[in-house]
Amino acid sequence: MAEPPEDEIAALRGLDPIDPASLPSADEPEAHALFERITMSDTMTEPAAAKPRRRGLWIGAAAAVAVLAIGGGVYFATDDDDGDQPVAADDTTPETTDDTVGLDPSLGMCIAYDLETLASNQFAFDGTVTAVEGDDITFDVNEWYKGGDADSATYGGASGFGGLTSESASFTLEPGMRLLVTGNDGFVWSCGYTQPYDEAVAAEWAGVFA
């Protein structure tokens, strides 16, 4: 019988498919270009500053809007908006030649899902959609993690769902759908934060807000 390696970690290094030294360094032109693209982008990502996205702002006027990424929320501002607003949808937005594979093309417009950001949100709960009226979503709350204790709750943000800007929120809200819901300032976040109920994710959320 073969003996397992005495030091598994050292043995596993032999399986490493990548030699970091063979990769482009930060001195390479492509790295310089990336650095410049990133640092030319704005740094404002405060989730609490998110504004509701209003469907009417962008339908039929996609070319005229600037997409602003504010935390997990997304909102659109016309060219007439204040010029000092950040534009975060820049060249770093991942591109895929096959829209069914690869990184979410919308990632550049949404802050990546992370538990630290989630923990800072004002409300979070496990809820079942009972009604969607205009931009308002009403839930029966199965369990609050943060920000409330009522049996039902209504928030704005329905227009953030539907797959128009984020694959992470590509599901359509329908009564009866059980979701893990989070958001700020009275609006549900899309962009992968609010998501269909999953037992493992629910446990993770419970831990985050414990």
């Binding site: 397992p4 990769l23 690869g102 990546a112």
Partner: protein, 176 residues
């Protein structure tokens, strides 16, 4: 988010972080993605770091960046799983390995859970300590050490299980 210091100072801080992390971050990404996606992932992580520069821990910047990458990939996989037509294609954890590596060890690694594999990859390929793995995974140092210890044990067991059958198969091949 409050920004410490001026634009130049901020840019200088990011420059240092960028220089330190670009190559290892690219390596992390290419170990887990196709090359094209890996470049996108590295860019995305660095963009997050630029926007959240004040949150990057000075003493664990690289594990923090790996943690952001880990979450982006997890988020992406979660999203992808919802797309039924793609399940089979992307449910496959990207688990590339050196083609000339120990086949028994490679087979044993592939038999472990995705979490075990990731713990071991972080320790072996990114060469992180348990306390740094904890930063990546967002858990306590003790939890990371325990996870890693158990993953190592399961790897040992998998090697022990595989090796006899592999030896027997090789012997039959040679006899044939």
């Amino acid at each position: 988010m409050a920004q410490d210091g001026g634009v130049d100072e901020r840019r200088a801080r990011f420059r240092a972080l960028f220089d330190e992390s670009y190559q290892p971050l690219l390596a992390y990404a290419r170990r887990r993605c196709t090359p094209a996606d890996a470049d996108d992932l590295a860019a995305e992580v660095l963009t997050v770091a630029w926007r959240r520069l004040d949150d990057v821990p000075h003493d664990a910047a690289l594990p923090w960046l790996f943690g952001v990458a880990h979450l982006i990939l997890a988020n992406q996989r979660r999203s992808t799983r919802r797309r039924l037509a793609l399940v089979e294609r992307l449910e496959r954890e990207p688990s590339p390995a050196a083609p000339d590596g120990d086949p028994v060890l490679l087979d044993a690694l592939a038999r472990l859970s995705a979490d075990d594999q990731e713990d071991l990859r972080l320790a072996a390929w990114e060469q992180l300590r348990a306390s740094e793995i904890a930063v990546v995974l967002g858990c306590s140092g003790n939890a990371a050490a325990l996870r890693l210890s158990r993953a190592r044990e399961r790897l040992r067991n998998a090697v022990t299980e595989i090796a006899p059958s592999r030896t027997e198969a090789d012997r039959k091949d040679n006899d044939g």
